[in-house]
Symmetry: C2
Subunit: 122 residues, 2 copies
């Protein structure tokens, strides 16, 4: 995992909320709990993961679905993408492919910008 | 772009907000405007993209930074990741690597779950 190593190196994993969590982690969990939005990564290997993805998006969370495992199972991939499209439509969210392996599904109120941030390249 | 083709096929691109936008797009733009959260994908080819990434995250948006272009420029990659870590810390957001090519940076109030959604495989 090259990027993870780069991000977290030889040191302990950097937790940007370390300071708060030392004192308030449990309290915060009770206080904010479900009101916080999460990004969840789902490894889609079959249709079995779809119900949990659906639950997460209905709960207001963003799911990044890794469909790389289905690249050679076109039938399942088609069905999974159909279900994810329907899910995004049901919650008035958004859905976009990211590279070759990922699909981003968002809940209501979160949209995916189709324009990439790009500098001038060379 | 395999996934994009799968997602959007031969038909017109699916816009899950089509219904609302037919009637309310401009009105909504004024009404909700900046209050909506966006996911933006940034192609990081140098340090030039960092200020725009910073602006987006400070505005409350999520950025998925594609650092694949920097894989063979370790020096720039290290600097970019250092800057992105600092950015996530500054806004009390979160940062995690996604696969080999991507880094997710979130604003305050949005966290990234380290546990993947996984079904039983095989």
């Amino acid at each position: 995992m090259g990027i993870m190593e780069k991000l977290f190196g030889k040191q302990e994993r950097v937790n940007v909320d370390e300071y708060e969590e030392l004192d308030l982690s449990e309290f915060e969990a009770e206080l904010e709990g479900d009101s916080e939005t999460y990004i969840k990564v789902a490894e889609i290997t079959s249709l079995n993961e779809i119900p949990e993805v659906r639950r997460q998006v209905y709960d207001g969370n963003i799911v990044i679905a890794d469909v790389a495992f289905l690249k050679h199972d076109k039938l399942t991939l088609d069905r999974v993408l159909k279900d994810l499209r329907q899910l995004a439509e049901d919650v008035h969210g958004d859905i976009v492919g990211l590279g070759e392996d990922y699909v981003i599904i968002t809940p209501m109120g979160i949209k995916i910008d189709r324009n990439k941030i790009r500098g001038t390249r060379r």
